[in-house]
Symmetry: C2
Subunit: 409 residues, 2 copies
């Protein structure tokens, strides 16, 4: 059961001028399941992406990187679920390229103008012939209004589609930001078995789009974790269609730049948090905020130690304020000169530990009350400096085990 997440309403998702989306059933995943999604991009759009840091990155990730580096105009993206085309060696690369070739042929583009994405089981050969056979139906389906369909089309173990949309005024014009994401397991930063696509019709210096997508990822998709497993296929792509008609943004720290960034970040964070809310077996949404570190990096390190700890996560599942497990995770996070006598711990507004020990005023029933909620903030004060970092995670439940023990069956 997802945590405080509901399916997007199609009418709330504003189309982005210059982006059409088509969805089809190609039979890669299972019968009756939409598993093939095509994005068609008008001429003049700018595309940038960030991809998994997994050294076993999937064939489509390798091809995406190649095609983006080639610097040609990206005009189409194709996404299949049901098969990750990862751990597939040279043959997998050939199949990812064959997918691009087929779509390019039907659209009269060069193969390097197509970005491929795959998500699903690792180390199985991609059924490229089924994907190619499904392309005409996906192309025939292409419309600007199809963001909600796309959100469904890229789902794997997700229980709900994930999409959101915002509009802001820039230079007197309405600028739209609409995005979708998928992912529910094999989720940790850098990045997740996750795909994220955000498009905006904002007009922006093409050279700014790559730093922009990197900054957005760093504050959204790279701040979530479900099980600490970094996927082979993570991809997050930002499309700027340059169609809104305002004066182009030439600096991210301009007023227009900041406004656009805020809208993009709101969409990216909502999509990233939606992945955690729909985390495999999740029953709680947990914000881990670490303050008072010497650097943001060490705060993240502590936050991830807490967010990855199976013991902390099972305690949240049980609504059991067994909060010493959080202190233990802080202690093994890897800060060599950490002084435990400076550390305070809060659970929402409840002051649990002070100077490394139990707060004498702390009452078990207060911890219990917070633990029973479905949205919980863990706050750790390191007492070493002024840096801070936040990550989002979920609990570890029986259903996580069930889902991952049964994924292929």
């Amino acid at each position: 059961m997802p945590v405080n997440l509901s399916a997007p309403v199609a009418q709330d998702l504003h189309p982005v001028a210059g982006v059409r989306i088509g969805v089809a059933e190609a039979g890669v995943r299972k019968a009756g399941r939409k598993d093939l999604t095509v994005f068609l991009l008008d001429e003049g759009v700018t595309v940038a992406g960030v991809f998994t840091e997994n050294r076993f990155c999937a064939a489509p990730v390798q091809v995406c990187r190649e095609h983006l580096q080639a610097g040609g105009a990206i005009r189409a993206m194709v996404v299949n679920t049901g098969n990750a085309n990862a751990g597939t060696g040279a043959d997998g690369l050939a199949r990812a390229r064959a997918t691009c070739d087929a779509l390019a042929g039907q659209l009269r583009l060069q193969p390097a103008q197509v970005l491929p994405f795959s998500t699903g089981v690792i180390m199985e050969p991609l059924p490229v012939e089924r994907i190619v056979a499904g392309l005409p139906a996906a192309l025939a389906d292409a419309e600007e209004q199809h963001w909600a369909r796309a959100a469904e089309g890229i789902m794997t173990t997700d229980t709900l589609p994930k999409a959101t949309s915002r509009q802001v005024k820039i230079g007197g014009r309405t600028v739209t930001v609409t995005g979708i994401s998928k992912g529910a397991g094999m989720i940790r930063p850098n990045m997740a078995t996750m795909l994220g696509f955000i498009a905006t019709d904002a007009c922006i210096d093409p050279a700014l789009v790559q730093p922009l997508v990197r900054a957005l990822a760093g504050a959204s998709f790279n701040r979530i974790t479900i099980d600490g497993d970094t996927s082979t296929n993570d991809s997050f792509v930002l499309v700027a269609t340059q169609r809104a008609g305002h004066a182009p943004i030439t600096a991210l720290d301009s007023e227009d730049g900041r406004q656009l960034y805020a809208a993009l970040l709101a969409v990216a964070q909502q999509l990233a948090q939606a992945i955690v809310r729909d985390g495999e077996g999740a029953t709680k949404f947990i914000t881990v905020r670490v303050e008072g570190g010497k650097t943001a990096a060490e705060c993240r390190q502590v936050a991830y130690a807490i967010a990855h700890s199976p013991l902390v996560k099972t305690a949240f599942f049980a609504s059991d304020p067994n909060l010493g497990r959080i202190l233990a995770a802080v202690g093994y996070a890897g800060i060599q000169d950490l002084d435990q006598t400076l550390i305070d711990l809060y659970l929402d507004d409840v002051h649990v530990a002070v100077q490394g020990g139990r707060n004498p005023q702390y009452r078990e029933e207060d911890g219990q009350r917070v633990m029973r909620g479905s949205e919980i903030t863990v706050r750790v004060l390191l007492g070493r400096g002024d840096a801070q970092a936040t990550v989002w995670t979920c609990d570890l439940s029986h259903d996580y085990v069930t889902i991952n023990a049964d994924y292929r069956s």
Copy 2:
């Protein structure tokens, strides 16, 4: 259900001259449960230990380090279960010291001659008055034959006591090595919620005992992981009673030294592996061997990435050869210049992946056959060098979640 592990037979555990053990019920853990164990050491014994690297190390760990560094003759050790006395601040330290004071008083020793150990819930005040009240019963129980009772006395979520014993001939004399361990969750290297005590009557230069315990830990207790949580309380202590009557060992690389080391290592590895076999919810015992690395450290890094992956562990639980998850873990282990096209993967004798892709000869039913077993070896060849490393772990099952969601209730 522990994996291929049975309770030790008391008669198989050879006593070690110079070590007497007494066990009692102090009411720290739960009614009717032996939760207090005392080791009494004769004059002239040498004691050395290694302790958790968790910066939130427990009060008893801090006191152990102090007392060992003080260099006095250690003559007693006291272990309670049911309460870790960790995350307890200055008050916790005072309670750990009070335990030592009480035992020292009854034995006419200095407090610094006592080592305290605690294991159990974190961040709860240690009921030191119950421990002190239980000491006379534990002392009255003390006998050389009580190793099996001690193995029971230190259990927490363990389902079976863990103990083993060996004898070797050194210099014409029979040398005994007997040890016990506990631990079933919050287990990862450096070290685990684990306690390990090994005693030998071997005669050995006291200066060698500390390097010896460190080497043993590095090849046994620091090579296991259950859930990747490093405990606040891990302690492994080696006692050499110097009573076997052979010429003292003055170098570990002498023939006698090697023989003793082999016997100690066999005991330490068996005790460490017993912890994994009794891992919370474990249904399989998994050996992860990584070969062909540039350094042993990078091999360990890859082995731990595999051994910690919840996705890999749930696949083992399901006996599902979803082996791409292993490749994914290899990929995110953090070796920046890893070349996926050099990597081979074996599951026992089955050659699953070759040059980073699925082996064309690999058949799903062969993977399935291996996965159904209860003892499985994962072998990864990195193709970068000659180093190798092995770690031992278990699967992640529903029972792990159940046990850790219910631990305090």
